[in-house]
């Protein structure tokens, strides 16, 4: 693989550590701000959607309006009330969305993604990684189409899947995260614009890593993508997701829904590097990342693993979860969440054991620096049917400095006496002795700190595809700038 620069784009933004903050000047096709039936109809029309989908959107919208005043407040995060009428729900940076081939992609757009380190042109594309690049509300290019077609793998924007594979979409959309699931999932169901769709046919091992690259560019635009991944019997797919946003003084809302379905003997590996703009040193601006991610191990012997490295966003609120329905199915969650300056994160996972002999592993590493706060919130639920279920949970927190905080909130619910659960939790500090020892060997304070934090995260990085692990560790370095000294 040759995607060394997937996330570490080299463009420097002055006065800020965030290196992906430049924005592009396109002539966007914007819907007016605000949320209404008309807007939902407009989105649906732009995408030429069938009636069942529009109806589903409207059903979601009505439910959302009913619950509008019941924004969830249980998470350990603080932010001013969001004015949902002040957000733009549709923005297309190009007037030629969903190109049939790369020749149809706006050359300006190719340049823009190349600047972000994601070359999409045939001769320059990342080797071994098929990329679907999404800017604001629209998918602009998908590489490696031919190889994927040969393998029978479908990897395309969800709006295209709605046109081409309506039965698959209709069957699975909302089957893991119903439209009524939670406040933000309901909102997403009403206004989702784009996102990736993947279907891997029975017995196929997807020949390349599949990657979606998300970017919010337009001012005051929310990003509401919807990702749906289906691994049919005995198939395997590894999917990577990378995200950035420009430097903005106002907060941008990102409320995605991701649904994964693994049928019998299938495996889905889902990796995220989340690097949305975290806000500046004083806590101004940044992305609100309120995301619902859930996988269902629907068939027996299936496996879903979530690996995430989260360094961005002003506020993160997300709990990638696995429903272990098939017997012998496996759910895994590996996470590094780093918060610095004024960032807040309330993140964790849910493992719901339904089938027999189901197994889950949770390893969560939280790093807090500056005045930031992070909370790990995890739920392990063993239903009466889940005979011989097992869970192992390990939550480690690392503090840098003495103004930050880390909290661990585990919920455990066991309804079957044969279950075996193990839980370990530690909190440690990057000690002055560790820093001094490392500095005494000629290594600068910042590098010493980075080295120690990197050591703390090692167990998670090894779960990422190799090149992505290098990216993750570079991302960590950038996010730690100014954390010590």
């Amino acid at each position: 693989m040759n995607n060394k620069n997937v996330i570490s784009r080299n463009t420097k933004l002055e006065d800020n550590n965030y290196k992906w903050g430049f924005d592009f000047n396109f002539n966007p096709d914007n819907a007016p701000k605000g949320l209404s039936e008309d807007i939902v109809k407009l989105i649906s029309k732009k995408k030429n959607e069938p009636k069942w989908l529009l109806d589903w959107r409207l059903k979601s919208l009505n439910l959302w309006f009913k619950n509008e005043d019941n924004e969830p407040e249980w998470a350990n995060i603080k932010f001013p009330k969001i004015d949902f009428q002040d957000i733009r729900y549709y923005s297309s940076p190009t007037n030629k969305p969903n190109p049939k081939s790369l020749d149809e992609v706006d050359p300006e757009m190719l340049k823009a993604f190349s600047k972000l380190g994601i070359p999409l042109e045939e001769q320059k594309k990342l080797s071994g990684v098929a990329v679907d690049a999404i800017m604001d509300s629209v998918s602009v290019a998908t590489t490696y189409q031919k190889q994927l077609e040969d393998a029978g793998v479908i990897f395309c924007p969800i709006s295209e899947a709605v046109q081409k594979y309506p039965e698959l979409v209709q069957k699975y959309l909302g089957s893991v995260v119903p439209y009524s699931d939670n406040f933000y999932a309901t909102l997403n169901s009403a206004v989702f614009t784009d996102g990736s769709f993947i279907y891997v046919p029975p017995g196929v091992r997807c020949p390349v890593e599949l990657m979606t690259y998300f970017r919010i560019n337009e001012l005051d635009t929310g990003q509401f993508e919807r990702t749906l991944i289906i691994a049919d019997k005995g198939s395997y797919v590894s999917y990577l997701e990378g995200c950035t946003a420009p430097f903005r003084k106002t907060n941008q809302l990102h409320a995605a829904v991701v649904e994964l379905i693994a049928l019998e003997d299938a495996e889905i590996k889902y990796s995220t590097l989340q690097n949305w703009f975290p806000g500046d040193k004083n806590g101004i601006g940044g992305v609100y990342n309120f995301v619902t991610k859930r996988g269902k191990c629907a068939g027996k012997n299936s496996k879903i693993s979530w690996t995430q490295v989260e360094t961005g966003s002003a506020i993160t609120w997300k709990y990638p979860s696995v429903i272990l329905q098939g017997d012998n199915s496996i759910g895994e969650f590996y996470s590094v969440a780093l918060v610095n300056n004024f960032q807040q994160a309330d993140t964790g996972t849910k493992m719901i054991h339904i089938g027999k002999n189901t197994k889950s592993t949770i390893i969560a590493k939280g790093i807090s620096a500056g005045k930031a706060n992070s909370t790990y919130r995890g739920m392990v639920k063993i239903l009466p049917s889940a005979k011989n279920a097992r869970n192992f949970t390990q939550c480690d927190s690392l503090l840098i400095g003495d103004k930050c905080g880390a909290h661990t909130i585990p919920y455990i619910e066991v309804k079957n006496p044969t279950a075996q659960l193990e839980h370990e939790a530690t909190t440690s500090k990057v000690s002055d002795n560790q820093l001094f020892y490392t500095q005494q060997r000629g290594i600068s304070l910042e590098d010493a700190n980075y080295m120690i934090v990197n050591g703390f995260c090692k167990g998670i990085f090894k779960e990422l595809p190799f090149e992505f692990a290098i990216e993750a560790s570079q991302l960590l370095r950038v996010s730690l700038e100014g954390a010590v000294g």
């Binding site: 000690s431 002795n433 560790q434 001094f436 060997r441 000629g442 290594i443 304070l445 990197n454």
Partner: protein, 253 residues
């Protein structure tokens, strides 16, 4: 084996930690090529001196001078002092969970090379140097795959300090009780490491409690430190005298 080039000069140094003065008008000069031994009872301030020299920010210099190879150290960060050629083998080496030995040692060497205007070593060149050094101090390949000091025995930690000394090859090596808690075999390895390192182009300040290591490492000078200052200096025979008589006869003077 001394020449007259001064490597370290400490003048009238007063220093404190946790608001208590520990070093009191401390003076010491070390020339290039010399080996000095600093002895003294527990709590006399030996480690404080070592930490002050290496720039540990917990320890505060109240007054005095420290010159190293002709420039002051007082305004320099710990990593700069290291890059200038000052090495401290810690009395209590620190564990770095998850940080691989290999990565730590390579970063250390590359960073010092960069400061001194040299290119980083290729992985291949580094490996061959590292293996050579590891062999000298009887450290196995498995050991190099572990995390820095994590789960090491006391003796392993001390040997690791000597490995780093050998690899980094500094101008001045300050060894803070690197000999304590070692069995006789480990003591020989550590002493050998120090003797192999020592040359006319570098110097050693060996901090110890015990005369025992002086059977292997031959110092040019022995100093006795009590209550924050040097009360007596001499040659190796002073160490033997201390072994017989203890420190009381010096402090009661």
């Amino acid at each position: 084996m001394t020449n007259n080039k001064i490597i370290l000069e400490i003048k009238n140094l007063n220093a404190s930690v946790a608001n208590t003065q520990i070093l009191k008008d401390f003076n010491l000069t070390i020339n290039m090529g010399e080996k000095h031994t600093l002895m003294g009872p527990n709590g006399s301030g030996k480690s404080t001196l070592a930490n002050i020299l290496a720039g540990n920010p917990e320890y505060i210099v109240d007054s005095g001078e420290i010159n190293f190879l002709g420039q002051t150290l007082l305004d320099k960060a710990p990593e700069i002092r290291a890059c200038l050629g000052l090495f401290l083998a810690f009395q209590y080496p620190v564990e770095l969970p998850g940080v691989r030995m290999w990565q730590f040692l390579k970063s250390s060497l590359d960073s010092q090379r960069e400061y001194n205007g040299k290119d980083p070593l290729s992985t291949k060149d580094f490996d061959s140097i590292l293996n050579e050094c590891a062999e000298k101090v009887d450290i196995s390949q498995d050991f190099l795959k572990r995390n820095v000091n994590e789960g090491f025995s006391g003796g392993e930690k001390k040997r690791n300090e000597i490995l780093q000394l050998t690899l980094i090859n500094p101008k001045l090596a300050i060894l803070d009780e690197t000999d304590s808690g070692l069995d006789i075999d480990a003591l020989k390895i550590v002493s050998n490491g120090i003797e192999n390192f020592s040359s006319p182009n570098n110097s050693v300040l060996l901090v110890t409690h015990y005369q025992r290591i002086l059977n292997y490492v031959k110092p040019d000078y022995v100093h006795v430190m009590i209550d924050g200052k040097i009360v007596k200096s001499g040659d190796k025979s002073l160490a033997l005298e201390l072994e017989k008589k203890g420190y009381d006869w010096l402090s009661k003077k």
